[in-house]
Each structure stands twice: as C-alpha cells, then as structure tokens.
C-alpha cells in the first residue's frame, strides 16, 4: 500500500516547550487518520508543516513521497485543505470565493461544487461576511473537496457544523475513502474520530504519545461504577481489589473505575449493604483524557509510541 503521509523526526520548536517534537508518523493511502489532542498539543503545527505554511526546525515531511518543503506546489496539487480558521473574504460572495480559489487550481468543477453546496446546505450567493461560522466552515469544505483531491488535510473540520451537517460530512468522508483517497483530520472531539477514522494518533504537548487502530485501543476501556450503600462503604476491601482506580466516596455513595474483571469488586461490595448500583462504559474521549491527563511527556514516551 502507498504511503500518503510520512514524517521523520519532524520538529518545530517555538521555544519554551511549545511546538512539535520528533514526529515519526506514517499514514497509508486510502486511510482515514484521526489526529487527536487537546488545544495547543501541536495538531495545527503538524498540518501547517505538511502544507509548507511553516518550516521545520529539523526533520522532514512527505506527501505521496514528495517532499513538502522542496516541492510544495506538487504536494498541493494532490491536497484539499481546510484551515483551522477560515480566511476573511469580506464582501466576496461564496460563489466568487469558489471561482477564485478554483481559478488558482485551473478552474472549478461546477458540477462538483453544486453537489457539495447542496449536500452541505450552503447558499453560495451570500457574501462571505454574512456567513455564520458554520457556513464559513462549509465553504471551507467545498473548497477542499471540490477538486476531488487524493489527500484531504482537515484541521478541525466539524467546528461550528450542526449535527445534521456533521452527519453529511461523515458520509462525504466515507465516500472519499471508498474512492481510495486519504483523509488526515485533526480533532479534539473523540466521538467524531471514533465515528469515521480507522487509526488515530494522539498528540500531547508536541509529542506523539500513541498511534493505534481504534480497536487496539479498546484495552484502555474501563467501567465506571456508582454504588449507594445503606451503611458504611467497605472502602478498604474495595481499594484492595485488582484493577480499581479513581476511588471516591462521600457519605454512603461510592464512585470508582474498574479495569478488567469486575468479579473481585462485586465480592468486596458484598461486605457492605448495597442499595443501588449503576455502571457505564466511558466514551473514548474520557478514556484518553484519563490516560494522558497526568502522564509526563518526554523521551520516555517515545518508546511507547506504536507508530
């Protein structure tokens, strides 16, 4: 399988610990890859390096085996791009923006534009400054998809989109994948990544801390239990159980997380008088937050990366 994106030791050091450090990443052709991390983790920096907007401190990036810094024009022929923040086109109408950006690519396919605008429910006759933030984002999607690129680089593409349009966007991504194109999308919303991506990379403070298929990450999943007792909470027995984490107890109410089997915990709970027990499986978002919130990053993390 071809490689759509490859980075080797890609680093952008802004000083003071900010930036992106030693990114080794490979995204296969035809893959939908989710790039996750909290604000300031380095997602947009990675995307801007791929798009040759900014220059690496060291390391290199390639798109379809073309060096992003040496041959940026060739790279951009293959790429459709949605920036994190849409540019201000002021008084230009949506259709004029489409014609202008299309003109820079040698012409816009009216049929493709019309289809995209209809699907996204976007009126191209309005002036850009009259668009809501959601409509500006839709225009960005039209500009990125209209020339049927081999690679879509999307920086938080669903920001500001309403749920119905988000569903349409997911369908568009599905179609893009079916025709063999690659999608690299950044997000801090795990649920949308969970919905459309095959693999995810997790970024934290400029370091890639994990790359894995979604199903491989399920071992990180856990159950959260909430238990009400009639009398005292048997805290010592509960804390002694294997796989127990984040135990919190107040009055006769207990909350804890359980990794793996719940049998030992149920036995410990039996030492008290249980009135009510509720359990639920956290979303991937909560899973990742719990996993990466407090871990230090640095050289030790590099060994954990499963790229």
């Amino acid at each position: 399988m071809d490689v759509a994106i490859r980075t080797e030791g890609l680093t952008k050091d802004y000083g003071g610990g900010a930036g992106l450090f030693d990114l080794d990443l490979q995204v296969e052709s035809g893959e939908v890859f989710g790039y996750l991390g909290p604000n300031g983790a380095g997602k947009t920096t990675t995307i801007r390096l791929l798009m040759d907007m900014i220059r690496p401190t060291r390391g290199r990036a390639e798109v379809f085996a073309i060096d992003c810094q040496a041959h940026p024009v060739q790279v951009k022929r293959e790429v459709g791009y949605v920036p994190g923040e849409m540019p201000q086109w002021g008084a230009l109408r949506g259709r004029e923006v489409v014609a202008y950006v299309g003109g820079l690519r040698g012409g816009a396919d009216a049929g493709a534009v019309s289809s995209l605008a209809t699907r996204l429910d976007l009126d191209l006759g309005r002036r850009f400054r009259e668009y809501s933030s959601g409509n500006k984002r839709k225009l960005g999607l039209v500009l990125a998809f209209m020339h049927r690129p081999r690679l879509l680089v999307l920086d938080e593409p669903t920001n500001g989109l309403d749920p119905l349009i988000q569903q349409e966007f997911f369908r568009m991504i599905e179609e893009v994948r079916e025709r063999g194109a690659t999608v690299f999308l950044s997000s801090h919303v795990l649920s949308e990544v969970e919905r459309i991506c095959q693999r995810v990379g997790i970024l934290r403070r400029g370091h890639l801390v994990q790359v894995a298929r979604l199903d491989e990450l399920h071992h990180l999943r856990y159950h959260r239990l909430e238990v009400d007792f009639a009398g005292e909470v048997p805290l010592e027995a509960i804390r002694a159980c294997p796989g127990i984490d984040h135990v919190a107890s107040e009055d006769h109410h207990l909350v804890c997380d359980v990794h793996g089997s719940v049998a030992p915990l149920l036995e410990a709970l039996g030492r008290g008088q249980v009135l009510n027990l509720v359990t639920h499986e956290p979303s991937l978002e909560e899973v990742f937050l719990a996993q990466f919130r407090d871990e230090p990053v640095g050289t030790g993390d590099a060994a954990e990366v499963k790229a």
Binding site: I54, R55, Q74, V98, G103, L104, D123, L124
Partner: protein, 560 residues
C-alpha cells in the same frame, strides 16, 4: 510551622484591576492616527513659518508674493479657502498649513468613528465588551472620550508647530491666538467623528460606513466650497462643519475666533454623539439601524462564471474595481481642476519677481504656466500614486493577517507567483491612474495655451509608475517582516519624503539627503526630462525591494 507560611493571603492570584479599560483600549486604537496627525500638525505650520522669510525676504517680494497667492487662492476657491493676509507669516501659515490640517482632522474623525463602531464590531471586540457588565452608552462614550483625548494631544502638537514656526520667523503672536486657532481643529475633528458615529449606525459594514461617511463629508465640504464662490450660499453653509471651522482665523492679523461658529461645531458634535448613542442602544449588534425587510432569495449553489476570477491578477483587479474607479476618477478630476487654471496661475507667477529663482530652478522660467502643470499638478499626481501604492501594500498586509494568503498558497501556486501577481497588478493600476490623469491633462493643455507635445507628457506619466512601484517594493519588504505596521511606516516615509525637499534647504542639509525622497527622485520630467540619478535609485529600490520580498516570501512562515 513558620508563621510566615501561615500568613500567606488566600487571594494571591487576584487580578489587578485597571481603571477605565475601555478608554485605554480606545487610546490604543488611536495611537497611529495620533502619531501621524501630531507629526504633520507640528511640521506643517512650523515648516511654513520657517520657509516664509527665505522665500520672501523683503517687503517688495512679500507684496508681490501676497498678490500672487491671493490670485491663486481665489482661483482655487472652489477647492480650498481663500487666503487671508498672505503678506504676513501668520496669514500664510493659516492658509497653507492649517486649512490643510482641517481636512486631516476631519478625516481622522470619520476614520476613528467608523473604527470604533464598525471595525470593532467586525472584529468581535464590541461583543466581548458588551458581554461584560458594560452598558452600550458607556462603551460608545468611552471610545469618544479616548478620541477627544487623542485629538487634544494632536492639537497641542499643532499649537507647538504654530508657535515654533512663528518664533523662527521672528513674529510674535499671543498664546490665545495660537490656541484659538487650534480650537476649530478640535471642533472639526469632533464634529466629523460624531457624523461618523451616526453614519456607522446606519451602515452595516466598516466599508459601507466609511463610504457613506466620505460621501457625507464630501457633500458638506462642497457646500462650504460653493459658499466661498457664491455669497448666496453662505446662509446654507452654516450646516457645514468645514465652513464653521474655516471662518475662525484668530491667528491671522485682523482675524478673530468666531465664537458662535466654534460653539456650533461642538454643539453639532454633542447632538450627533447623543443621536449615535440612541441609535446604538436601539439597533442589533452587527446590523444597521435601518432594517431591511426580509426578502425571498434564491439559493445559489454554482460557482461564479465571472471570467475575471479565472486568473489571479484579473481577479485582484476585479476585487478592487470600485476603489479603482474612485482612484482613477479622483485623479482625472484633480487633473482637470488644476490644469484648467494653469494659464491664469502662470500669468500671476510671471509677474512675481520673488519666485523667478524657483521658476528657473524648475526649468519653466520662460513659461510659468508650465510650472503649474509640471511641479504642481504632477507633484500632486505623484502624491496620489504614492497613496495608491500604500493602499495596495495595506491590502497585501491584510491578505496575510486575515488568512487569505494562507488559503492562496494552500493551492498549487508557487510563493514567488504571489509577489509577481502583486507587482503586475500594482504596475497595471498605477499606469492606468497615471494615464487617465495625463489624458485629461493633455486634453486641457491646449485650452491653456500650452503645447508641450506628447513625448514629455508620456514621459512624465510613465515615470509615475516606478515611483508607485518604489513604494510598493519598500512595502513588500516591510510586510514580509512586520505586516501589521506596514501602512503606518510607509505613510510616515511618504510624509517625510514629501517634506524632505523643504527641510534640506531650510536646515542646510547636503543635497544628497533629498535623494531619500521619492518625490525628489521623480523630478520634473515634463520640463527637465528624465532625472536619471533618481530613476536609477528608484529602479534599484524596486529590484532590491521586490527581490527581497520574493526571497522572504519563499522562506517565511505563513499563517495566523
């Protein structure tokens, strides 16, 4: 446990409260305008006073000069106020330095008001303020207060310039007259600011408000101009802040401060600010006070078929078509007005012994009418082209700051092509503006008894293009490092360049210092041909500037 640890206050992270944040923000917004106007406010009267005696050293020369100035001023009455006592330093200073400042203070007022209302709203700043416990009235009045403070500061610099200019010319004037002469400047700025505030409630965008405000001010200026040439219009002219400002001349010997007119200026400002506050309180944020009825619109889902958008350079031109018409029409009108008085003005100049040296230096000793066309009209045309180039550089800088450049180079477009497109579009439009101005000039010249042939006219026109490109090249270089300050810095360079030819003889600086002025480098090609040194320097700046900008563009980082 130590007692020191126990006594640590629990609120160590309490934020420091700053007083009057809205006024501080307003002052910060005005800083560039303030710097520019304060600088010009000081330099314009000072340089007028300082050069007056050198130009007319004795009583005879002064009388001839005054007669000529009076004649020229009367001929130009539909453009600028009629001179008063130009035989005195103070009179000439009022006419040459201060009437021009009236226009600048007025423009500042309009720009500041539009910025306070519409630009802050478009940037989302107003919404942030109003999301805090700040009433709309307070938000608007705080900005107004900041503007008043800035205007008073600029007026103080103007007063210093007037005092300094008179001091250098060894003329005494009372502090009351100097301060009194600055009062109408503050008044016109306040009145135009208030007009801008009202207009900004009626328009829904910054550009719309600026356009509508400009039309209103031009109309009011026209009323004042008509009153100058038609006594029957004086009754109507009291509605014009320009008229109310111009009739106060306490600095001019025999003149006085028109108390009623000055109070009227401030009264207009107060009433209009109150109206603007009412309007702001009633309207929706981001909307005009005049709501349009909702209309059924057809949804469009196809790209524009406009052929201009298929090519980057044509697209750039199309996007600025309205401004382009304005620049071109303005230049044509300016050419028509100034060239049509070349003969009468030249006749007056011919009778003036005092400026024969000036005419000889400009190469027009034989025909002073030619001096009017060559030095005055083409001097103004050079200023127009410089202003256009600065406007373009500002546009390039905003392309960067507002993310359009990022989107452009996210397409398969080499970075050097972006710089090339800018050069080509600046060249084309500069050539167009210069050509239209010259066509009008060429059409009117025969009526003034001037036959200079096509060659010199074409040469003078063609050389305006490298002048505009020099500003463009310098601007391109500046925006590759610091896009946000490009307009201010370039404007400062232009203003300095405009005054430099005045300063060099005044302060007895070496002649080569004049070469830092693009206006000097342009020369007077209509009568003296190409100033080769100037042309080579300009070409060098163009090559180095745009070359450096291309190199910087290929290496620099783009993105907000």
């Amino acid at each position: 446990m130590s007692t020191a640890t126990a006594s640590v206050p629990p609120t160590t992270l309490r934020l420091r409260r700053r007083r009057a944040p809205l006024v501080r923000f307003g002052l910060r917004s005005q800083r560039w305008w303030f710097a520019a106007i304060a600088f010009i406010g000081f330099v314009a009267p000072y340089s007028t006073g300082a050069t007056y005696l050198a130009a007319v050293p004795n009583a005879a020369a002064r009388a001839t000069f005054a007669q000529a100035t009076q004649t020229i001023g009367t001929a130009l009455a539909y453009l600028i106020p009629v001179p008063q006592r130009p035989d005195t330093v103070a009179g000439y200073m009022w006419w040459k330095g201060l009437t021009f400042l009236t226009l600048l203070f007025a423009a500042w007022g309009l720009a500041a008001a539009v910025s306070l209302v519409r630009a802050d709203e478009e940037r989302g700043v107003t919404e942030i303020w109003l999301a805090t416990p700040v009433a709309r009235v307070r938000a608007l009045l705080s900005g107004t207060g900041a503007f008043i403070a800035a205007v008073l500061g600029a007026a103080a610099f103007t007063a210093l310039g007037i005092g300094g200019g008179l001091e250098v010319a060894k003329v005494s004037a009372s502090a009351g007259a100097v301060i009194g002469q600055c009062l109408p400047l503050v008044g016109i700025a306040m009145a135009c600011f208030a007009i801008g505030l009202v207009v900004a409630q009626l328009a829904s965008t910054r550009r719309g408000a600026l356009g509508l405000g400009t039309v209103v001010l031009l109309a009011l200026y026209t009323v004042d101009a008509l009153a100058r040439v038609n006594a029957g219009m004086v009754g109507v002219a009291v509605i014009s802040p320009f008229h109310l400002a111009d009739i106060s001349t306490p600095l001019v010997p025999g003149g006085s401060l028109d108390g009623a007119a000055t109070v009227s200026l401030f009264a207009i400002a107060v009433v209009l600010v109150a109206l603007a506050v009412l309007g702001f309180a009633r309207r929706d944020l981001y909307a005009s006070l005049l709501r349009r009825r909702g209309r059924i619109v057809r949804i469009t889902v196809t790209p524009s078929g406009n052929p201009f958008f298929r090519e980057a350079i044509l697209s750039r031109l199309w996007q600025q078509r309205i401004g382009l018409v304005g620049w071109t029409a303005g230049t044509a009108i300016g050419a028509a007005l100034l060239v049509s008085i070349a003969h009468s003005t030249g006749g007056v100049l011919k009778g003036m012994g005092g400026i024969s040296r000036l005419l000889t230096a400009s190469g027009t000793a034989g025909d002073p009418s030619l001096y009017v066309v060559s030095s005055i009209w083409f001097g103004i045309a050079a200023l127009v082209l410089a202003a256009y180039a600065i406007a373009q550089v500002t546009r390039w800088a905003s392309d960067d700051v507002e993310g359009r450049l990022e989107m452009e180079i996210a397409q398969p477009v080499a970075r050097w092509r972006v710089v090339l497109q800018r050069i080509v579009s600046l060249t084309l439009v500069s050539a167009l503006i210069a050509a239209v101005g010259s066509l009008v000039t060429g059409a009117i010249l025969p009526s003034q008894g001037l036959d200079i042939g096509t060659g010199p006219l074409v040469l003078s026109t063609a050389l305006l293009v490298p002048l505009a490109l020099s500003y463009g090249a310098l601007g391109a270089l500046i925006i590759s490092r610091v896009p946000r300050i490009a307009m201010g810095l370039l404007s400062f360079i232009a203003v300095l360049g405009f005054y430099l030819p005045l300063f060099v003889p005044l302060f007895r600086w070496p002649d080569w210092v004049q070469d830092f002025s693009f206006f000097h480098l342009y020369g007077t090609p209509l009568v003296t041909g190409v100033f080769w040194t100037g042309l080579w320097i300009m070409l060098g700046i163009i090559v180095v500037g745009f070359g450096g900008a291309t190199l910087a563009m290929s290496r620099r980082e783009v993105g907000r």
